[in-house]
Amino acid sequence: MKKIEAVIRHEKLNQVKAALESVDISGMTVQEVRGRGEQKGLEFINRAGKYRVDLLPKMLVTIVVPDNKVAAIVDALIHGARTGEIGDGKIFVSEVERCIRIRTGEEGDEAL
């Protein structure tokens, strides 16, 4: 099975969730992260000057799925998260060897 990690915009989370539901994915884990890519940060102001924050708040969505679902999910993620402007984020796919459901001890794809 595969782990898909997507770094997306905060405000896109709801749309990404909706897109994932449309391809029948409900299991996921979400975290608040900060990141930097081509988008080099944002300017903020304090009481009498500007300062730059180079690490911007993003959401990291992690989904572990059977190999055959990866393509559909990547499409759904892109669909839900894209605005076309710098800062839309990235998707990383890697291999997972085992998955166990703690409640039942089940293993493998049925545990997802």
Partner: protein, 415 residues
């Protein structure tokens, strides 16, 4: 002696309001720092309340408000509240109110000493050991606050000269602001300011606004209570105070909009505080028009002073010099321009713009100049001595990286 119950009611209330300002400063300052320094501001506020109370009750009040000796300092008649018990007659000294018990006057003045000392902690934040800060502030209270309070309010030379400082432009704001200027020149920068680090954002602006709002309310007692009674002067003081603060808040917002393209909330609450600072010395002497003028100009001055501080590069962490030192200086001078006997019969020579000539203005400038010089020199020397005789006054680089809250208090503000 039959006191005026209305005066007592108002002065106890005022005292409570001013007392609240010291923890309020802890929130105002702490919210502007990173989150690992929040508790240091709150903790130091509490230490200031304790240490200053002890000094004040034991000898501070007596030296500040006891009978004058050569214009420079009070005497020791009131040591440990001797002679100012709650049922004793008010001492026959010009500056003691007769409408309230002298013990209440003592407590009201104690809260002024606390808040003044507390103002300093924001400027010298995030580098000194807690013990060193405590010792410094205790000595400071004795060496700076007590004499200057005596000079201006306790019958000393500025009082005799007739310069006007209703609620503490010189005594409170200039002393605190200039102290931070002199002290930071000696103690140097925080690690985070030494190399080209990115500025740390304020960790909790709602706490800054909370502290600022409580300061504003507290200032009703600060300026209104300085009338020492529930009278017309008190009413005038709270009216002009509110006007100046309200106006200065939006003016700072406007400046930040014009300068940076955004209306900073941190800027607006800072502006309101600067409006409060600047009206402080003037609040018993200027009318509502004067308050508008002060509320418009004060934020421009402090905003400019912050830019100057950035260029000069001394590390006044929370711009105590720019906001309090310069705001208080402007307010003291503005009093010389805008004072009018229409709001206070005690104004003998009107301000320059109200037709009184330069008489009052010269006195104001003299007082301001003298206090600036006195504070700067004493603090600079005191700090130089301290860093020399106490080599471990500073926290280490490693400790600075970890953050003062954990290092000095063993606690995290949030978990």
């Amino acid at each position: 002696m039959a006191y005026d119950t209305g005066a007592i009611a108002w002065m106890i209330t005022s005292t409570a309001l001013v007392l609240m300002m010291t923890p309020a400063v802890g929130f105002f300052y702490g919210g502007m720092l990173k989150k690992n320094s929040m508790l240091s501001m709150l903790g130091q506020s509490l230490i200031v309340m304790g240490v200053v109370t002890i000094i004040w009750v034991v000898f501070g009040f007596s030296l500040a408000f006891g009978a004058d000796t050569g214009g420079l300092i009070g005497n020791l008649d009131f040591l440990l509240m001797n002679g100012i018990g709650v049922f004793s007659e008010p001492p026959a000294l010009l500056w003691f109110p007769t409408t309230i018990p002298p013990l209440l006057y003592m407590l009201f003045q104690a809260t002024f000493a606390m808040i003044t000392v507390a103002l300093i902690i924001g400027g010298i934040a995030e580098r000194m050991k807690l013990a060193a800060i405590t010792v410094f502030l205790a000595i400071w209270t004795a060496l700076i606050y007590i004499p200057v309070a005596h000079w201006v309010w306790g019958g000393g030379w500025i009082f005799q000269m007739g310069a006007l400082d209703f609620a503490g432009g010189t005594v409170v704001h200039i002393t605190a602001g200039v102290t931070v200027l002199a002290a930071t020149l000696v103690i140097g920068k925080r690690l985070s300011k030494t190399n080209g680090c990115t500025e740390e954002p304020a960790h909790n602006i709602p706490f800054v606004v909370l502290g600022g709002a409580l300061l504003w309310i507290g200032w009703f007692g600060f300026n209104g209570g300085s009338a020492l009674g529930a009278n017309e002067i008190a009413v005038n003081a709270v009216v002009v105070t509110t006007i100046s603060a309200a106006v200065a808040g939006v003016v700072w917002g406007l400046i930040s909009y014009l300068h940076l393209g955004r209306t900073s909330v941190l800027g607006m609450i800072t502006g309101a505080v600067v409006g409060l600072v600047a009206i402080t010395p003037a609040s018993g002497f200027v009318d509502t028009n004067g308050a508008m003028v002060i509320g418009i100009i004060a934020p421009m001055i402090s905003y400019g002073a912050i830019q100057l501080r950035k260029r000069l590069g001394f590390d006044d962490a929370l711009d105590v010099w720019a906001c309090h030192g310069m705001g208080g200086t402007f307010g003291a001078i503005a009093t010389g321009l805008l004072a009018t006997s229409a709001v206070n019969p005690a104004v003998v020579s009107q301000g320059l713009l109200y037709g009184g000539g330069i008489d009052l203005l010269v006195k104001q400038l003299t007082a301001v100049g003298a206090v600036w010089a006195f504070v700067f020199v004493v603090v600079f020397v005191l700090m130089k001595v301290m860093v020399t005789v106490w080599p471990k006054w500073r926290i280490s680089k490693e400790e600075e990286r970890i953050g003062v809250d954990i290092v000095q208090h063993g606690e995290n503000a949030y978990s």
